[in-house]
Point group: C2
Chain length 299, copies 2
Amino acid sequence: MSILVVGSVALDSVQTPFGKKEEVLGGSATYFSIAASFFDKVNMVAAVGKDFPKKYINIFKNKEIGIDGLSVLKGETFRWKGRYEYDLSHAHTIYTRLNVFRDFHPQIPHSLRGSKFIFLANINPELQYSVLKQVHKPKFVVLDSMNYWIEHKRQALEKILERIDILLLNDAEAREFSGESNLLKAALVALTFGPKAVIIKKGEHGVIYASKKSHFLCPAYLLESIYDPTGAGDTFAGGLIGYLSKACAIDEPSIRKGIIYGSILASFAVEDFSVNRLLEISIGDIRSRYKHFKKLTKF
Amino acid sequence: MSILVVGSVALDSVQTPFGKKEEVLGGSATYFSIAASFFDKVNMVAAVGKDFPKKYINIFKNKEIGIDGLSVLKGETFRWKGRYEYDLSHAHTIYTRLNVFRDFHPQIPHSLRGSKFIFLANINPELQYSVLKQVHKPKFVVLDSMNYWIEHKRQALEKILERIDILLLNDAEAREFSGESNLLKAALVALTFGPKAVIIKKGEHGVIYASKKSHFLCPAYLLESIYDPTGAGDTFAGGLIGYLSKACAIDEPSIRKGIIYGSILASFAVEDFSVNRLLEISIGDIRSRYKHFKKLTKF
């Protein structure tokens, strides 16, 4: 099947206790696409400025990521600068410069409007809704959001939740959205807004999946070294949706496998800055970590 | 087989966002024994004061917990008072009154010196060592400790680690003991001190098991309502060791199953104050939650 992601392509500057990188490739659509590209064809809709380095475009091309929907606009590329403390659990934003992303109104090229697996990365829910109106009969839609939209665009967010398959939130966002501290309760509240399922990302503690029918607990893959958690959530989504698209399946056993693949892709992503580690690995490395994950959790 | 626990029997006063209890049954040996008693015969070695309520003794008797090693001493029973904030993740101690526990020097009755499964609950590691010298050829020894002993009795703690099968620590203790923030690294450092395996308890995020040969990840059972986390770690140990003793097995597949049983017993324990919930459930309830746990984690 074919995958469509609408999100950001950015230049990130990141500082962690393990180092510092300036203006490296980042953005939700970037992490998602590279992760999903291990499994199936993925097309991105995003915008960058004239200053966006050619070498990063080449990365997308080498990964056979469709960039027909990547607009190169007058102005500068979206930039984010952040810092992580010793425990790596929270990003402290130093600045966000929206630049060309400020006026980003995603236009889905006609050739991509039949895409079946859609990832609406974390952007204004009104824009996410406009994307859904442009695509024809998608099979599976996953939506990510964040505290800013929960606080400032709650109504628009609620409106789109009725039309999606999976709502992805991290633990803090799930608590804020639901008003519940307990994460199972938070997931159950989120389900009442209409998504078929909710996935709560707990970082190094794994994820909780909840639908009306059942729940699934997935610990995070055990790592000795985490260098940079930036993009882990979008990489997770890329592994999940990439696997489902390749498998042409959206039943729960497939979603569970997809969640494991998502966790594994994320576990690679955090082992280096930017998308560096994702560019080193092969599908064989992913499969081998999947097998190890089975062993790690078997009882 | 037979199980021996050496630890505390206490009167706890606990406040959580969900209520308040005064002078209720608590202590590591209490939680452990009740949990283990679902699987096999367990004997406790502990001390209480003359003020210890008869009704609590009757709870032990009803659970067929061996109390030949429970000394009733002149003076008052060990008391602990604590408070949990909204997220229930940390206990804030209001006071600890050691009372008769101050001079507790565990004497193992001769009839119990052949015990095969030993739980050295969180007491002074010098006393834990003296217990090990009193028992003959135990098959399996699990040791719990805490930040106080890590800081004040490090040498004694290190000495006993060479002689045990599993070291149980929570995440903060594991970080403090090892000097490593990453929990896998922390477990690997702890292993260098000699225990055959390390279990790091992460509360609502489950546990990590690590031996030199392999690792096991176990998420915590999903609960909508947690009332009081007191005793969850000792209850976990009771489920783990109870299962292993009943199964007469200490191979890794059995330890993994035992860890699941431990998590399940702990999930019941936190659903009410003191040992109340543990006194309500049957082995059938435990088995049914085990089956549900399988479903929750299958992929």
